[in-house]
Amino acid sequence: MAARVAIQCDGISLTYSAKAGAPVEALRSISFPIAPHGVTAVIGPSGCGKSTLLQIVRGLLTPSAGRVIFIDEKTGNTASRKPRMATVWQSFNLFPWRTVGENVAFGLELGGMNRSERAERTRRSLALVDLKGFEDKYPRQLSGGMRQRVGIARALVMEPEVLLLDEPFGALDAQTRLVLQEQLSRLVETSGTTAILVTHSIEESILLADTIVVMTARPGRIAAEIAVDLPRPRSLATTHTAAFSSLFDQIYGLLRDEVVKAMATEMGNV
């Protein structure tokens, strides 16, 4: 059974040197807690460094300052080992030369798991995302929505204690997005994993998250932490409730000025 893990982002800053010109400050002293076995959404204008933050939590990027602390929920202490983590990517990042089954099994193969156990777990993981029987297809033979389900299966097969979702539905059409949001929401709930969802969709963050962290334009800072206590399961109907609207307006109000600022920065860069 997976340990339940809480995460504390502790004063994370990232400044990187650009090829030309002054160094770029991407993140400035980001501190916030991530509750175990729930979904924390990080929302902000484009270029605010929210995907960068996700990669820092995953350990794929090293921050200039600050650290990510993993806390074992049972003991309340700093975890003795890094939790198992897996990421679902906006652009899917499936290996095009591998079949669906081989893509899902990639992480298990790296770990040296034997073939039969790998096949068994791959089959189970694909069943979770309703892709039974697609093992031998290549990614290019699938639609965008199916590809992302492979991406989700590839992450879930690792039995992650922390699931990182990097704008997972950003490249999908509106209908596919709705269906997958519901599916993912269920999967996260049943698996008891701690999930971090990076998104630029206010609606998506409210539908999926327990807590929403709103970030500012670059350099990314925390503008607000908002608890979402709408009942689950949430669906399209949730979006028609008054509680949803008031949350939406609150977040939009926080984001609007930041988006304008971000646009101004982008214009300045052109």
Partner: protein, 272 residues
């Protein structure tokens, strides 16, 4: 009235059949082979009727006969095998060495900087110009033949390996790292597979150069091999044998090209 109607189809049948035949001949594939046959027949007829000296232009049937005797009693098979061994032996060396060096160059800026100038200097150099130097160093035996063959193929393979690995989507490397891949695993399981189409394009170019160089080297120094056979036949004005060796080389080229096509489609099935 009725009679006329019933007779209509029979009237149309003749021209229709002829039309179908013309259509079949018009098929690009059929047309291509028909053209070959036509040239051969015309060649045979013209040479026979004009009584051309066979030293200049022998008849295709005589060339075929020469080819047959060379294979059955003239040891042409030995020459063919020697040439093939040299081509593919050298090619195998350059495939292994070229992919390794290319991978190393693509993943290390320092190695790239070191190797880059040497490659820039050697790559455009016509490799036949290296034959004299290689003979001085290695003599004219097996090592020389393998070296010249490997030299021909190695540059396109190195360059295409570097290119292929550099074109790998960085998102795939991130995804692999996320799933726990070490640097070595990323090279083996992400960078190299993603570069396979590009490496294979290098293999195509390289193998072509290897064939040219081995045959050219055999013409210069060889006692054995298709190039040597070709050169000797020319020296003693055995034009039929010259043509026969050319045919073997041409067929070899066709087989190699078709085999590459086959391997290419198998290896890159995952692409569009």
């Amino acid at each position: 009235m009725l009679k006329e109607e019933s007779s209509k189809p029979t009237v149309a049948e003749g021209p229709q059949k002829a039309f179908q035949l013309v259509q079949q001949i018009g098929e690009p594939r059929v047309l291509g082979w028909l053209a070959v046959a036509l040239v051969l027949v015309m060649w045979e007829v013209v040479v026979a009727t004009a009584h051309l000296n066979p030293i200049y232009l022998p008849r295709p049937t005589h060339i075929l006969a020469a080819l047959f005797t060379m294979f059955s009693s003239g040891g042409l098979l030995t020459d063919l095998l020697a040439t093939l061994g040299r081509i593919f032996g050298g090619f195998a060396i350059s495939l292994i060495f070229g992919t390794l060096l290319g991978t190393w160059m693509a993943t290390s800026e320092r190695v790239n900087a070191i190797a880059d100038n040497f490659i820039a200097a050697l790559y455009p150099l016509p490799k036949v110009t290296l034959i004299p130097l290689l003979i001085i160093w290695l003599g004219t035996g097996g090592p020389f033949m393998l070296a010249i063959s490997a030299l021909g193929a190695v540059f396109p393979i190195v360059i295409n390996t570097v290119l292929g690995i550099r074109q790998c989507d960085p998102g795939l490397v991130l995804a692999a790292r996320d799933l726990g891949a070490s640097n070595r695993q990323i090279i083996k399981m992400v960078l190299l597979p993603s570069a396979v189409p590009s490496i294979f394009a290098g293999v195509r170019l390289g193998l072509g150069v290897s064939i040219i160089l081995v045959v050219a080297a055999e013409m210069v120094v060889g006692k054995l091999g298709l190039g040597a056979r070709l050169y000797l036949a020319g020296q003693i004005l055995e034009t039929e044998q010259v043509f026969a060796v050319l045919i073997v080389l041409a067929v070899l080229g066709v087989i190699v090209t078709k085999a590459q096509d086959l391997i290419d489609t198998r290896l890159t099935r995952w692409r569009a």
